[in-house]
């Protein structure tokens, strides 16, 4: 266990309580809505915010433990941080920015600049050494920030919303490069993001933090398949229902009963993929057991596909083709029949 932390921080009325363990070479993404405490978590790990309770232990060395009155100042933690918006020093060149860390840790000027140039070279930035940060593109600035954090030889790497400052057009390629550089880092790495695409591309494991708490964690596949909060379901584009299971019957809060193929009992979550929701203009015949009549709330067109948000009694989204929308004469408020096969409802304990 390389990073082992139980972070309890109080910020006015806000409480953050997150436990996490990250192995050497592992990248964990902390994913969650803005204001959920992600940045506070990074700050606490970096020593920029002291804990109220809990501990931060890196390679067996305690960095923060209020009960033992231990607090290691940020400048004495071997912790590289890539800040949101990167926080590059505007009065220094790219090379001087990267050399700042080694210089601060007592490396001679010549060695520090040598090391900085090496890192810039590794990041494909050799030509920018004498530029000031305001002359860099978003992707370059991100790599300088990463080089600056790595040049100190940190044991722990923290990235706070590394993609947030980038133009939409540059994202995919920058994300790919960042992923490559993170793979090369030997220690534990924590990436904070609100974008599931970043989390999926960069991380081995996800930690979903909402309102100061971990609501779910696991590999991308685990979290995607079985979301446990509306936020996660929405991120993954899934319909999440909550209800009580009695055998293969699922009773929703409003009393509506759906037929499932999973034998379960008690409080459960049920997930339905929008593409598994079929829409009809008249009552369909045939096998689906779950068929109901409803109205269209909203239609979101995404190219050739459309997400159709349905109203009561089962407020879920259906994903259909744009042609289907016109064929069925769908519009906001239009009546429609919906159906879902019992085998396409996944049920798991709440």
């Amino acid at each position: 266990m390389s990073l082992d932390a139980e972070v309890s921080v109080t910020l006015g009325p806000f409480e953050l309580n997150v436990a996490l363990r990250v192995d050497d070479g592992e990248v964990v993404a902390v994913l969650g809505p803005n204001g959920g405490g992600k940045t506070t978590l990074v700050r606490a790990l970096a020593g920029l915010h002291s804990l109220r309770a809990g501990h931060v232990t890196l390679d067996g060395v305690v960095l923060d433990d209020p009960s033992a009155r231990i607090f290691v100042a940020p400048e004495h933690r071997q912790c590289g941080v890539v800040f949101q918006d990167y926080c590059l020093f505007a009065h220094l060149t790219t090379e001087e920015n990267v050399a700042f860390g080694p210089r601060s840790r007592g490396v001679s000027k010549a060695d520090a600049h040598h090391r900085a140039l090496e890192w810039l070279d590794t990041m494909g930035l050799a030509g920018t050494a004498h530029l000031r940060p305001d002359r860099l593109s978003g992707g370059q600035a991100q790599r300088v920030a990463l080089a600056r954090a790595l040049a100190t030889g940190p044991r722990l790497l923290l990235l706070d919303e590394p993609m947030a400052a980038l133009d939409a057009g540059a994202r995919a390629s920058v994300r790919h490069q960042l992923g490559r550089h993170l793979e090369g880092f030997a220690g534990p790495c924590v990436v904070v993001t609100h974008d599931p695409l970043d989390a999926a591309a960069l991380a081995d494991r996800l930690l979903i933090v909402e309102d100061g708490h971990v609501v779910q964690s696991g590999t991308l596949a685990e979290v995607t398949a079985r979301p446990r909060t509306a936020y996660v379901a929405e991120l993954m584009g899934l319909n999440l229902l909550r209800g009580r299971a009695r055998g293969t019957h699922l009773v929703l809060a409003n009393g509506t009963t759906l037929q499932t193929s999973v034998d379960a009992n008690g409080d459960v979550f049920a997930v339905i993929a929008p593409r598994d929701v079929a829409l009809y203009s008249s009552p369909p015949g045939g096998s689906p057991r779950n068929t109901w009549s409803t109205r269209v709330d909203e239609i979101h067109r995404l190219g050739t596909r459309a997400r159709v948000l349905l109203g009561a009694p089962v407020p879920i989204a259906a994903e259909v083709t744009s042609e289907a929308v016109s064929d069925l004469g769908l519009g906001e408020g239009a009546p429609v029949w919906a159906s879902v096969k019992a085998t396409q409802i996944d049920v798991y304990g709440a």
Binding site: A46, G47, E75, V81, F83, F89, G101
Partner: protein
Amino acid sequence: MSIQRRPPLAVVAIATATVAFLAVPLVGLLAKVSWSSLWGDLTSPVATAALGLSLVCSLWTVVISLAFGVPLAWVLARFDFPGRSLVRALATLPMVLPPVVGGVALLLAFGRNGILGRPLFDVFGVQLTFSTAGAVMAETFVAMPFLIITVEAALRTVDPRFEEAAATLGAGRWKVFRRVTLPTIAPSLVAGSALTWARALGEFGATVTFAGNIQGRTQTLPLAVYVALEGNEQVAIALSLALLAVSLVILVSLRGWWLGAIRS
């Protein structure tokens, strides 16, 4: 596009009168300059002594203000402590206090019979009144607030995350201040120093009250101008011209800088 309407005639008339009021004295000064004897007037013994002394005193004032004002500005900007607004008021009071009152206060505190001046003289034999050190003290008392408020305003606008970034890179507090905070506020540091210098250069009331008017020791430019006006008007005009030129240079080089630093 907004339509530019012509301002009312009455307002234009008043504005013109105001400009005239501000400009006429300067014109009057320039009109009376005897350009042929200007160099001679500026290099007369009284003038060179005053110029040299003013330069020395005002530069010392800037150095002392930086050394003592920046730490105070930092404390005021970064720490919330009981009485902070009181301290801030105290630090800016000399800006509105009549300088002669400042001089009297300095005299009562540091004069030969002052509460600190007497033990200072009795124990160490140090006398501040009628000394160049006293002139520097008077100038510092009056001018340092310009540095303090300019630098404090700048420190408040520094994004603390840059300092935090430096800390995570291994820089201790002093190093963070020296290598990140100071460069970030450098423009305000320069602006504050220039304002302090200009104010010190023009200081009259506190200096004459506390340090006296001794040629070569405490008679700075403004004092020399005042004295020369009685006997040697051309020297007074020449020195005034020198002070005016310095003020203009500072004003032009700072432009809206200082106001911007205070507002932001």
